[in-house]
Subunit: 383 residues, 4 copies
């Protein structure tokens, strides 16, 4: 498995700062690994924790210079802005309610931003942030992880190139069970900020994972629905936000879609899937087995497409590091977002395959519409 | 694999008449095979075709005495009613619009009925027929095939005995692609009466397969939803009835459900599935691999249950003929309906696991509500 | 799903006699169901049990005329031979050691025979029986069930027509666990005659299921190996015959094969599988999911072929009763053997796809060679 | 998904040198990514290519200081040995024939070694190297990648703790198709050094992937077979080394095993699998879907165990970075070897789960025995 055609590439490593992602957080570690996999970033600064001392201790422990281990994001942005060797980009991996203020401050101070989803906790903030992005000319990369999977990118390319014909049906699901037990359960307590609308934003499952499902469907379909109708439910007794959401969707051309997101269905780990059908074929993908993509051309046998295998599209190949059947996974999908961001920042171009501020606005618009539809008893709402 | 405990059983073979199921029909042959598998019926009379001569020729060819090969159902019922050795039960496998008049006439002439679904083409007729059943004291067995699968019956028993806890979520889907091509396509022309509302009844996919999905979910859940909202669509240009249906469902206890039926999604053969989740576990079943049932108790590893395997419930064992891992399929599921009907007729009891007139009414009520909901733009309707 | 091209066919029902298959036996019931599914046979005579009274009572209970419920096979053959309406064919479903004497007597009395595998318990007997078949001109159908599966037949056709290129590799496995517990275990006691070399013949797993695997591989490959090397083991302490067998195989063209049969590996129900690879492609099939056949043309994506689906070959279509994705199973595979036998007997032709006496000889030759190879410490033996 | 119990850990980053792994090589990139994922190594020195100029250019391009980009391994070892900040460990990712001289030189110069498999190209060299390891007191980590998968480690722990009972059957397979086309095919030419016995060592498939399969089985079983019999074949016409190998194995307690390795079977990407059965249960694992492990306790339903899910053993949890159902893959498995090596070097202890020099000797002994067995016509050889 030598590749004699490989050319030597060289890149300046980008300097990365991070807000959030302290020792107790899951997603911060994911971002750090993702930033390292392709060796395009060095983490040099951080305000990692709302407990400033713990945050600084952790920053130093993971190799950040003590001078650049900050108490909070404000001091980090202020101090970095003055440095010669200032960070190029700031990753925001805080609880949801901080995404907006941190991102706004960072952008306005001249930094690019890599931001966890949801971009903000309100549609208004999202629109504001999109304007800040436009005004500052800085880039905002929104880490909708699942768009980083090569087979998702291949699906998008195949839809765009007409392999399934005109869009007909979208079935997207995101099922989990980690909130299936009532909240007084000690295990579920780890989920706390997500269940607090002030910190997580409105919407429980619809915001936390429904937005991922929505983004995935739009990313692959190449379009968003025009109208939605949502049924949001707190299926676990006593829960204050929805933990289950069913959404019907209408597309401009008459195609239809269904989105289901639930965090309370036993036996589902991180069961995100997309099935998308057109007039002449379909594509089916499951996140838990992300290396495979089923292609179902009408009137032909089902074909199992595999990452970096026969028929791989350019975006799928570009997003692969190792040969077919040597599984890549979630961290590599995440790393693709970081790698694409690095390429965009290096060239000054756009990261075509990485969601940005507009997608963040779309996500918030979707959640807002779902909340409104459900609050009104389950009615159709234009997006 | 000897079973030394087996007792010798003996049964009188029931005399079976059939209406519909001529040489060109698919479902008539299925009923005949199903009636033979367990050797409880003999087909002795038939009015098999709207082309009377062809019907009689076919009847004789498949072993029916020429005297009992009838021109039409009226003459069959009239003649059989006068015979000493009259048929015990009449199977109705005609196009949908004939189910009602044939069943009504048969019941009123004193015959039991095995009827293809949908029981009738209107809710009004369904209610009438249920009254006829009650008045005549005769039995009507509605062949919702999928309730005959042992693992579906096991799922029902497991739900009833509390293995998944209080109902929380129902996901039921029935996806096909045999109507995916436009109707001018010669292949799709074979589907003609189904696309003619006068013969098939109102509702396309919702009536043809949506009712199966609805019945399956109700059979396993042990309850029906209280309210539904339906989005019916003709996704193939020019089609007059819906070929795709998405339905949201609300249950009395606050549980929620989604039903999706489509006949136009490439790569789906007869892809009926049910996933049902409660507070403490879930069950997942796919018709195309009917021997397996996933059981997902909350907080434990997923378990793969198999027909006639470890943990089989009484109804699943009773519905099995051969050992675990020797696949039974659709015809055996169908045969279970016939066998249960035979047992009920022999003992004069009820066939607890075979849908009857009430389920037929429920199916029509569901379709009627879906049509109304969709016609009004997608609104909630009480059932 | 109407089929307007269907022609009316008519057949005389063949009269079937049965030896073995009493109330405690599994395989007799399978044969009876298989004989009914396509309505080509009527069971009219039987000597069903070594307990003559129980056998006659059971025969009457399942609808055989008391006059034709016989004490033993000798009296059945003698009496039937004198009748005008004598049976056309006799099914032999006894313990293995009786296959030979019953088949020989039946053939010599002028009856066709449907015989369970293994055809005999010694290679010598097998050769004798093949000569009897030749001499009498009667037919012997050997029920290697798995050759009745449509996707197995399709695989055979695809290999024959060059779809995988020149044969390269055969991997065939047959794994079960029903003998995994030691024999003193009451559950395993049901297996008794199989563990008695006098009744089952030499060879435990190699004879009981290894022969199925061998036959399946030869059926699909279209050829048998020239040399084998076998490692037979009694893995369960105290067992007298092998319960696990690994066999290496060498084909004439240099292709290689491995056969594994085991009855003691936990979690395997009836896990027969065949993977066969040639220079330009491969085919993979699993008995527990028999409706699917993977086709892996070299340099193209894997394709999932389905019974009666796109790309079905003539033999697969002929062996199907219902549309794609409505699962057929083991009983229908078995019924295909009966249906093909009926067609052959009706026309006086050969049942090309049903194993016969030559295959029976080949199976015994294989088992004999395996026993010899293993007894000599694991050496290569020419077949 | 916060983890409030996480403690802050801090580690000195180990200095890593690399021999081999130039711009055209696949495995060098894998090692570099694996070394970065957990942030325990910094690549500071390299002799990356037999084309010294290209190697140095590439080293600089990937961030190695020009002073430490060496012409060849001899100069790298000599120069590094004199540095204060010398490398802690040297990764060897050259073609096979260089593993021995580089590893020997590195160890004798006082460096720890991370070595690609096979450890050497002859059993004699392997034994020599094991002595060098013992004599120098330095560590050698052999990157049998697949032992780094958490579910493989879990399987090992489950076997060791008696969850499947006494060993009964091992089925291990490693099937690929990347050498399925004849060697004159330009695509296959990339495989060149592997097909040259001088560079790859004796043995084609048996050495390249058979050793992985053998190591995997031994790792999980906790023991090696006592005798083997091998059938090595060059299935592709004109090939000089084996591209397909079947091996029978006998264990000390009477258990049996079969190993199959092939690089020429169409449709197989990197299809390594292990099924291991004992007296009371079994475990089944497939590399292409590495997050799942089937556990089949005798007499209970199959259970699907998942990485970091319910029932995870300590080694599986320790080898996981992200929650269940967020797929980790090949690179993370590889990273586990690097992380374990880092932990061992940091503490001066052993990396219990990382194969070492003894496993390297065992692998060469296995290949040597297979070559001998096959050369002698397929005979049993004691290991």
């Amino acid at each position: 498995m030598n590749d004699t055609t490989q050319k030597i590439e060289s890149h300046r490593k980008l300097r990365l700062g991070m807000v959030g992602g302290g020792v107790t957080a899951f997603i911060g570690g994911v971002h750090r690994i993702a930033s390292r996999i392709d060796d395009r970033f060095t983490l040099v600064a951080g305000a990692l924790d709302n407990d400033a001392e713990r945050g600084k201790a952790f920053a130093v422990a993971i190799g950040i210079d003590p001078d650049r281990a900050y108490d909070d994001f404000e001091s980090m942005i202020a101090a970095e802005a003055k440095r010669e060797d200032k960070v190029d980009v700031i990753s925001i991996v805080t609880p949801n309610f901080l995404h907006f203020p941190v991102a706004k401050a960072a952008l306005e101070a001249g930094f690019h931003v890599i931001c966890e989803k949801p971009m903000t906790t309100s549609l208004e903030d999202a629109k504001t942030l999109a304007e800040v992005v436009k005004r500052t000319g800085k880039q905002l990369f929104l880490t909708h992880t699942y768009t980083g999977y090569p087979m998702v990118r291949q699906a998008r390319e195949m839809v765009a190139s007409g392999e399934i014909g005109e869009l007909r049906r979208v079935q997207v699901e995101y099922a989990q069970d980690w909130l299936a037990a009532p909240d007084e359960d000690p295990e579920a307590a780890t989920a706390n900020w997500r269940n607090d609308p002030k910190k997580a934003g409105q919407g429980g499952a619809i915001g936390d994972i429904g937005t991922h499902a929505y983004n995935l469907a739009a990313f692959v379909a190449g379009e968003e629905p025009k109208e939605i109708l949502a049924e949001l439910t707190a299926l676990v007794p006593g829960r204050k936000v929805d933990d289950d959401a069913a959404v019907l969707m209408r597309y401009a051309n008459g195609a239809k879609g269904t989105l289901w997101a639930s965090q309370v269905v036993a036996g589902n780990g991180n069961n995100l899937s997309l099935r998308i059908y057109g007039a002449t074929g379909g594509l089916e993908w499951w996140q838990e087995n992300p290396e495979e993509l089923w292609y179902t051309p009408l009137g032909e046998p089902r074909r199992l497409l595999r990452r970096n295998g026969v028929g791989a599209t350019p975006s799928a190949t570009a997003g692969s590091r190792i040969p077919v059947a040597h599984p890549e996974g979630y961290l590599e999908a995440f790393a693709n977002l970081y790698k694409d961001a690095a390429n965009a920042l290096e060239t000054g171009g756009k990261a075509e395959l990485v969601p940005g501020a507009d997608d963040g606005v779309a996500g918030l618009a979707f959640v807002t519409a779902c909340l409104k539809s459900s609050a009104e008893g389950g009615v159709w709402i234009a997006l």
